[in-house]
């Protein structure tokens, strides 16, 4: 094999790895956020809200299943959705660090949800036109769900932000606390750039202003103040996580880790 062929093969391998890595990132953000929302079951402030959170959780886990299955196929090492969800450790997870942040009070849950819903909305709108038709089909399905999620979280953001003195203060506190994780949403790395060059993924810097304008408008409607502090660039999608992910996985993976292959 000559040098050109070798380097072409190496580059194809890199592309392949970027592709499966990219799909895995989308999957993990949906999975981890879905797991977080499921923690509200039995604890939500009202029966109707509990069902709403559980519905959103199930939508997200449904997205994660499609994406994980696809990621497993792209990886080509025989790992299915369950193997990827239940048998990886925290450093192998590549969800946005924002998604793994604890539920906190209802305000934290809503702000986290709204920030990610607005992000997923932009992502899925763009991914619907991906050159990867399988990913485009998953995005099209997820987009319908995400539009409702955003309607829900934005509705609560505005109600509570523009509600009582206490609800306003709690929402502002949640926004201030979670804002630092937003830099990661639109900071591209090599994987993002590879995917964007191949027309598989959108260019993150191009999406950023749309998200920013949406967030700005919602924050204004909710009578909240957009935090001035520059967000710190976390690297959840590269496996660098806050300490919260390990605890979440401990609970989520407990059954499969203790009783490998258990089914019902």
């Amino acid at each position: 094999m000559n040098a050109t062929a070798k380097s072409r093969e190496a580059s194809a391998e890199l592309q392949q790895e970027a592709h499966w890595g990219y799909v895995l990132r989308l999957a993990d953000t949906s999975l981890v956020l879905g797991q977080r929302l499921a923690e509200w079951i039995g604890h939500a402030p009202a029966l109707e809200e509990e069902l709403a959170l559980a519905n959103i959780s199930l939508d997200l886990i449904g997205q994660a299943r499609l994406l994980l299955t696809y990621a497993g196929e792209l990886e080509g090492r025989g790992r299915d959705e369950d193997a990827l969800a239940f048998l990886r450790d925290a450093p192998e997870f590549c969800n946005l660090a924002l998604a793994e942040q604890p539920n906190g009070d209802f305000a934290h849950t809503i702000v986290r949800q709204w920030l990610i819903d607005a992000w997923q909305l932009e992502m899925y709108v763009a991914l619907e036109h991906s050159s990867d038709t399988r990913l485009a089909a998953i995005a099209a399905k997820a987009l319908r769900e995400t539009r409702y999620h955003y309607r829900f979280s934005r509705g609560w953001l505005i109600r509570l932000g523009d509600g009582t003195a206490e609800s306003h203060e709690r929402m502002q506190r949640a926004l201030d606390a979670l804002w630092r994780f937003t830099a990661e949403l639109f900071t591209p790395d090599q994987v993002d750039e590879h995917m964007s060059e191949r027309g598989i993924a959108p260019s993150l810097p191009e999406l950023a202003p749309r998200w920013s304008a949406r967030v700005e408008e919602d924050v204004r409607m909710a009578s909240l103040a957009r935090p001035a502090a520059p967000p710190y660039p976390w690297h959840g999608k590269r496996g660098v996580h806050t300490e919260h992910l390990g605890h979440l996985l401990g609970e989520m993976q407990h059954l499969q880790r203790t009783y490998p292959g258990a089914r019902w």
Partner: protein, 95 residues
């Protein structure tokens, strides 16, 4: 905010285009918009419908059960009001 502060809304679902909305239950919500969302989340999880109505329970005027005799009993012996006394010609279909 607790659920106890939220007024009750009655929920009506149209299961398919062309059919009427039917009462399915109720939800608590702060306002009508939230009531629609709650109704969606509580009552349409299994594709039960294509359209939702909500109405504040307090806005529904109901007949008094005490007056049921006066209101409904008089109809009991008027069997001729049922359209069962007509002979329907063979040729007429879909009446």
């Amino acid at each position: 905010m607790s659920e106890a502060d939220w007024p009750l809304f009655e929920v009506f679902i149209r299961s398919r285009s062309g059919l009427e909305h039917k009462h399915v239950g109720s939800v608590h919500a702060a306002d009508a918009r939230m009531a629609i969302e709650h109704a969606r989340d509580v009552y349409t999880r299994r594709q039960e419908g294509v359209s939702l109505w909500v109405v504040r329970s307090a806005d529904i005027v109901a007949s008094d059960p005490e007056e049921a005799d006066a209101l409904f009993e008089p109809a009991r012996d008027k069997v001729y009001r049922h359209p069962t006394f007509y002979a329907i010609p063979e040729e007429v279909k879909n009446l």
